[in-house]
Amino acid sequence: MDSVTIDTTKIKPAKKKPETALEKLNDTGLINTLLAAREREGMILFSTVDQFINWGRFSSLWPVTSGLACCAIEMMAVTMAHHDLARFGMEAFRASPRQADLMFVAGTVTKRMAPRVKQLYEMMAEPKWVISIGSCANTGGPYIESYSVLKGVDNIIPVDVYVPGCPPRPEAWLYGIIQLREKIKSQGYGAKWGLNK
């Protein structure tokens, strides 16, 4: 019986390694998103702008430094050398919520902490996203019977991605982050502003 540990730094997409400069550029996803937009929407200019803005947004998700409980230690582990959140450009943890785009609700949200979490969310500048990490933040988890624990952070703030686990392994965090990136890709802010009608 041996342990199974996954070195996430070695996980690569199955496709072949980009070699030429063009392939490397292609690999960034920028051109793909632009081309996909072109195929889907024809030559609508604003749609492409939309995709471009979304590319900027999902490539530069700065999380706010707010750990609540056990999961916060795994948040540290994710940012550290072994799992290295910086590959996504996300190592720029901002201590001030004003400059952050993403909030990890990492840990148990108690009744006493709930208004603070809500205020922290409200202090963040739009556009903003929330990832609920761990069973406690998702539903209350092991503490669901407790008198002082909020049963799910989605009771107070909207949540984009839920990551289960107690606490979730760093690989699960990375998967949650990738899911959020996918979600942002499909969001149409141009549509929201009424640009690409």
Partner: protein, 167 residues
């Protein structure tokens, strides 16, 4: 002769009985004498107050003090029995600084009043929380919510409409 019996010899009026708590000497102290007994315990060399525990036995409360002596490397447990109606006992915070918080915690969760405590307010739960959770008759059904006031103070109510999201 263990420390509990030593204490009984020194203060026969204060100690109700002595015994053992598994391997630690135990002395049951009269409620009124706890401050004096604690002073004596400190004189005997028990410089570390490990923990203060409050237990709700439905018909009575017990407050338990665990002491340890770094000099003599001995344990001692003191126990005080309180009535269930209005449990209150003298504070030992003047002797051990750590008792300040331990007593506040016991007050917060079990609801035992420590007379003479410098600042007996809730420590873990917000001010205004209804009931003491570690009592056996604590109402687990009513959900209480906390909202934040202007200066960051906690406001407790059973109405969570300000906090919860409308869905």
């Amino acid at each position: 002769m263990n420390a509990a019996e030593e204490l009984k010899q020194a203060m026969p009026a204060a100690v109700v009985s002595t015994g053992m708590l598994i391997d630690k000497p135990l002395a049951i102290i009269k409620k009124e004498e706890i401050l004096k007994a604690a002073g004596k315990v400190k004189e005997m060399g028990f410089d570390n107050l490990s923990v203060i525990t409050g237990i709700d036995y439905r018909d009575r409360f017990e407050v338990i003090y665990n002491f340890f002596s770094y000099k003599k490397k001995e344990n001692l447990v003191l126990k005080v029995v309180l009535d269930h109606e209005a449990p209150s006992v003298d504070s030992v915070a003047s002797i051990w600084k750590v008792a300040d918080w331990l007593e506040r915690e016991t007050y917060d969760l079990v609801g035992i009043k420590f007379t003479g405590h410098p600042n007996l307010v809730r420590i873990l739960l917000p001010d205004g929380w209804n009931g003491h959770p570690l009592r056996k008759d604590y109402d687990m059904e009513t959900e209480q919510f906390v909202t934040m006031g202007e200066d960051g103070e906690d406001i407790v109510s059973t109405d969570g409409s300000n906090l919860l999201r409308r869905r």
